[in-house]
């Protein structure tokens, strides 16, 4: 126990926690969107994240031709490369998410199968993706080229405020604002909310359920892909099993905030990121996961539907 770090490093822990938390928030959208309409844990989302990190890596090394030895780049070329890897990672992740839906969920849903059956087939897809990437990469971790020189804007209240921290804070917030507007104001967004309220009734209202479900998988894939890009920009390395811990953390974040709604994913992610950073600093990083789960159990005891939980009659169906 080392409580003095809180007072000495408070601003930098806060910043790091916020940045990490927003990455969690983006990945947890992949769980929460799907849970909202299907009432199923999208188990393969962790592997969607993993594929996203490798896509970023592939675009930067094979497509743009940077190597681990290349110098950081500047100006328009830098922003072009970053934008390309961001968009590429988002698109590929969304594609993988759609394939996951087709393979693991659609047929089983058409048969009216048990929920656990789709859980197991999603686990199957997840194993195939994981092991497939393990074989492709020879199970070795890969490091990404450092395109973005991590210059610091200087000290903000004693914390080193760097460009990559800024990016990991700005991009998720922009995505959340766009997504919230999309879900509340557009026709497609409204159909997502309708399906999550009642599948039968939305079918009666002429909503194409399959289209809406695919759409939620696409959205989840897009945000997860953006998270993979940010993860690669900050941590600069990946491995075939990188998705596992991220998946558990993101799912915890979704539950903490109240699974099935956007606000829950956002604040749940931030809360989880902050908790992890402070818990590692105070108690030690090996007890990080334990602290997080103890907090989660406590929160769920008092608010059984998470911090921003959905209405009770919705969870009970």
């Amino acid at each position: 126990m080392n409580f003095s770090v809180i007072s000495t490093q408070f601003p930098s822990l806060l910043l790091q926690g916020l940045a990490l938390g927003l990455i969690y928030a983006l990945v947890s959208l992949g769980y929460t969107m799907v849970y909202g309409v299907l009432r199923l844990i999208n188990f393969a989302n962790s592997e969607v994240f993993m594929i996203g990190t490798f896509t970023t890596l592939y675009i930067q090394t094979n497509f743009l031709g940077y190597t681990n030895l290349s110098q950081p780049i500047h100006g328009a070329k830098l922003w072009y490369s970053l934008l390309l890897s961001l968009v590429g990672s988002m698109v590929v992740s969304a594609l993988v998410a759609v394939i996951v839906e087709l393979v693991a969920y659609r047929r089983l849903r058409a048969k009216g199968a048990n929920r656990l059956a789709s859980l197991i087939s999603a686990i199957g897809v997840s194993i195939v993706l994981l092991e497939g990437m393990g074989i492709l990469t020879g199970s070795r971790p890969k490091s990404a080229p450092r395109l973005l020189e991590k210059w610091s804007f200087g000290e903000v209240a004693g914390a080193n405020f760097r460009i990559d921290t800024l990016l990991t804070i700005v991009i998720p917030i922009v995505i959340f604002v766009i997504l919230t507007r999309f879900v509340t104001q557009t026709r497609l967004g409204k159909s997502i909310r309708a399906v999550s309220m009642s599948e039968e009734n939305s079918k009666l209202m002429g909503i194409n359920i399959n289209k809406v479900i695919t759409l939620t998988f696409i959205i989840g894939g897009l945000t997860t892909g953006a998270a993979s890009f940010l993860f690669m920009t900050v941590y600069e390395n990946t491995a075939f099993n990188v998705g596992f811990n991220m998946g558990i953390a993101a799912f915890t974040a979704a539950v903490l905030g109240g699974i099935g709604n956007l606000k829950g994913a956002f604040y749940g992610g931030i809360a989880l990121g902050l908790m992890e950073q402070f818990a590692s600093a105070v108690i030690g990083s090996e007890w990080k996961a334990v602290t997080v789960f103890v907090v989660l159990v406590t929160v769920l005891l008092f608010k059984p539907n998470g911090l921003f939980g959905e209405a009770v009659q919705q969870t009970r169906t």
């Binding site: 048990n114 929920r115 199957g124 194993i127 074989i135 539950v255 996961a289 334990v290 059984p304 969870t315």
Partner: protein
């Protein structure tokens, strides 16, 4: 042809044949099956059955772990997931608690396996209560994440405290002492198999007793609709806790035997993947049906060992088998009886 194949329900056909038999033919049939299982350790050395032999690991070892252990644990998890419909993603925690109580008590205090066994089961049950009391008030997927967290916590604690030896684990766990001249050591692996089979038979007997009595009916009611069960006067929390604790007891027993068989345990044997694998065994075989679960667990434990020659692609093939089987038979290999089958609310 395709349609009859699709609607063919092995469980119901089997039940029909079974119902048509008198008591003596049933006894003969059960004895025959038990004898076949008892002969399994010899299967690898005889003519046509020698294709069962596993290419890399020793066949008899495979029969004990993973096959026997997985069947035992899947039966335990089936009480929780299949009978009362609670999604438990951290079942490995109870296995770990059983294994660590055997390891610590035998190496530090010199207890033998048979004295540790009731103690390990008790410890697993107590931890089931500690986890269950807060967690079982929650529903569905919230329960899943809490149990998942519990499984990880047990592993992390084992990894970071000194009495469990940290990441190196605990070596030198003694084998069980011999009982009535039946030895349990490296040369007598076969006896471990018979021990596990005995435990499996005991568990099956226990589950069947529970199923036809009050707890079984309560679990069934809770699984079909918890609110209605509560309205009908079922004390849902108590019965959910019971199913959780009994499941934990089976996991604990499996852990004690496992630790005394492998003689060394370390935290990375109790990863999240094991919980998932056991859950896959239950769903793959047929949720809620004992015979399906046994068949599913035996297959899912055995297949990866049989195809070990594929080395890297082994797990990949395993994943493909899971996807394919769930798509072809969403209710598992041997689904539960029709009358027990209900369409879950909300599941489409």
């Amino acid at each position: 042809m395709m349609n009859t194949l699709k609607n063919f329900n092995l469980r119901d056909q089997g039940a029909k044949i079974w119902a048509g038999w008198n008591r003596s033919s049933r006894v003969v049939f059960v004895l025959f099956i038990v004898a076949m299982v008892g002969l399994l350790p010899f299967a690898s050395s005889f003519g046509p059955t020698s294709f069962l032999n596993t290419p890399i690991s020793s066949y008899i070892d495979v029969l004990v772990f993973p096959v026997g252990m997985f069947v035992l644990m899947a039966l335990g998890l089936n009480i929780v997931v299949g009978k009362s419909g609670l999604l438990d993603l951290g079942y490995v925690a109870f296995f770990a608690i059983g294994a660590y109580s055997q390891a610590i008590l035998s190496t530090l205090y010199g207890w033998n396996t048979w004295t540790v066994l009731p103690f390990g089961i008790g410890l697993a049950m107590v931890s089931g209560v500690i986890l269950g009391l807060p967690a079982l008030r929650l529903r569905g997927d919230y329960l899943a994440i809490i149990t998942l967290g519990f499984g990880e916590i047990v592993r992390i604690v084992a990894l970071n405290i000194s009495v469990t030896g940290g990441p190196n684990g605990i070596p030198g766990i003694p084998n069980p002492p011999s009982v009535l001249g039946v030895k349990f050591d490296l040369e007598h692996t076969r006896n471990f198999f018979y021990l596990v089979v005995l435990l499996i038979l005991l568990t099956v007997w226990m589950i069947r007793r529970f199923t036809i009595r009050r707890p079984g009916r309560a679990w069934e009611a809770i699984r079909q609709d918890e609110d209605v069960a509560a309205l009908m006067g079922v004390n849902t929390l108590v019965y959910k806790l019971w199913s959780f604790v009994i499941g934990a007891a089976v996991g604990g027993a499996a852990g004690v035997i496992y630790a005394s068989k492998v003689m060394v345990i370390s935290p990375d044997m109790f990863k999240f993947e094991v919980s998932i694998l056991i859950l896959a065994c239950v769903v793959f075989g047929g949720l809620g049906n004992i015979w399906g679960v046994i068949l599913g667990a035996a297959m899912l434990a055995y297949i990866p060992e049989r195809i070990r020659f594929l080395t890297e692609a082994r797990q990949l093939v395993f994943g493909l088998v899971l996807i394919l089987m769930m798509n072809l038979r969403p209710d598992g290999l041997l689904p539960r009886k029709k009358r027990e089958k209900i369409t879950e609310k909300g599941a489409k």
